[in-house]
Amino acid sequence: MDSPPQSLTVEKIHVWRGDRHVLKGVSLALGPGELLQVAGPNGTGKTTLLRVACGLLRPEQGRVAWCGHPIAGIRPQFQSALVYAAHEPALKGDLTALENLRYLVGLKRSIRTTELEAALERTGVAACAHLPVRVLSAGQRRRVALARVLAMQSPLWMLDEPFTNLDAAGSALVTDLLREHVSAAGMALVVAHHEIALSARLRRLELPG
């Protein structure tokens, strides 16, 4: 039986923050193999849009749907298909990189240490696996957070500024990972100022100032 492909739709989202009308009727749609870059000046609600799309923030108006169902009703299924990497890397300084991954990824799927090590290897921080995150540089932390995104193996990625704190090699790595993910029919919603060097299947959503 053929089922409709996985898709994320955000329809006419309105969000107020106190008196500020942050998001004014933003809509977007994302299907398999697509990458949507959200861009725009600071303070235009890019992070807010991402938080709405992943269900952390309930919009005053509008709806977010996953495979055609409003996410409020299918929260567990939606969340297990989703990985969100916020601006903060969500790592505990007192735990090692590996422990950090194990505890957060482990909530979503049962995972073996070797898989986690492979993910750290892929993002180039395998050497730091057993170091407390406290001693890592900002760029290395970003890479550990990327390893978490990889290890979750979710079809839908939502990344908030994945290029910050990364050197040229790191940025190239993010682009590579995004390309691989998208060509494997994954979906990605990325907030970035940075031009993403992906010609195929990249769309941009510019939020007005």
């Binding site: 107020w16 923050r17 106190g18 008196d19 009308h21």
Partner: protein, 244 residues
């Protein structure tokens, strides 16, 4: 029934209705309070045990009653707001809090002034007064939580949740304080309020109660208008209403 419910949720309707209700409620309140005062101070006979000191009952009991009533109203309004996401019921909860807290403070002060001739001290850790004091702390918690949030919508919801939790706790606090007091029997002598009261003592009390209720209604309507304006600052109807 539901259309009525939804109309109540509409800010302009609430704003206009509150404005229309205020003078009526205030008139009834003033009349009832004056009648209650005349009855309580003039016509009610002195208590056979407490003499004229018992007349404090005419402000103490209504304010103590209102303190609980306001807290319940706040919790119920908060629950309605959380369940149906109605902004106006948060506005009602926010308008109720300071009024309820002031009644609680009044009940405490009058209770302790009543306690002085009865117990020989202003504060005897009487169970009712102690519960009333804790209720004041609960009000303080709700009232300081709401403005702590930069986003008023979140402050409203947080305060609503806290008032519901507090509401569930009020009976527990009340009975625990009574249990605690039973350990130290002998500290309190006089029991406030008699099981049976002659009519000439009772009717002024009920009239005062009615007066306090209507007074609460009038003051909340006035505050509610302010809350509605604060919340709907951006909307067109508010601007029209203020311009004219």
């Amino acid at each position: 029934m539901w259309t009525w419910f939804y109309r109540l949720a509409s800010p302009p309707y609430v704003y206009r209705t509150a404005a229309a209700l205020t003078p009526w409620l205030m008139t009834v309140a003033v009349i009832a309070i004056v009648c209650g005062l005349i009855g309580g101070l003039g016509f009610a006979p002195p208590d056979y045990q407490q003499g004229d000191a018992f007349r404090i009952i005419y402000v103490h009991v209504p304010s103590a009653y209102m303190s609980l009533f306001c807290y319940s109203a706040m919790a119920v309004a908060g629950a309605i707001g959380l369940i149906w996401r109605i902004k106006m019921s948060y506005a009602l909860a926010a308008a109720t809090a300071p009024v309820g807290a002031s009644f609680t403070a009044l009940a405490l002060v009058t209770g302790s002034l009543w306690g002085r001739p009865m117990w020989g001290t202003y504060w005897a850790w009487d169970p009712r007064l102690t519960s009333e004091l804790i209720l004041l702390f609960l009000y303080a918690g709700v009232m300081s939580l709401r403005p702590a949030f930069e986003d008023p919508a979140r402050g409203d919801r947080a305060a609503a949740l806290l008032s519901i939790v507090g509401f569930v706790n009020v009976p527990i606090i009340h009975y625990s304080v009574q249990w605690w007091n039973s350990l130290h029997q002998g500290a309190t002598i006089a029991k406030i309020g008699k099981p049976s009261m002659p009519g000439s003592m009772l009717w002024p009390l009920l009239t005062m109660l009615l007066g306090f209720m209507c007074f609460y209604g009038a003051v909340v309507c006035m505050r509610l208008r302010g809350e509605v304006l604060n919340r709907e600052r951006q909307s067109a109807w508010v601007r029209e209403a203020i311009k004219s």
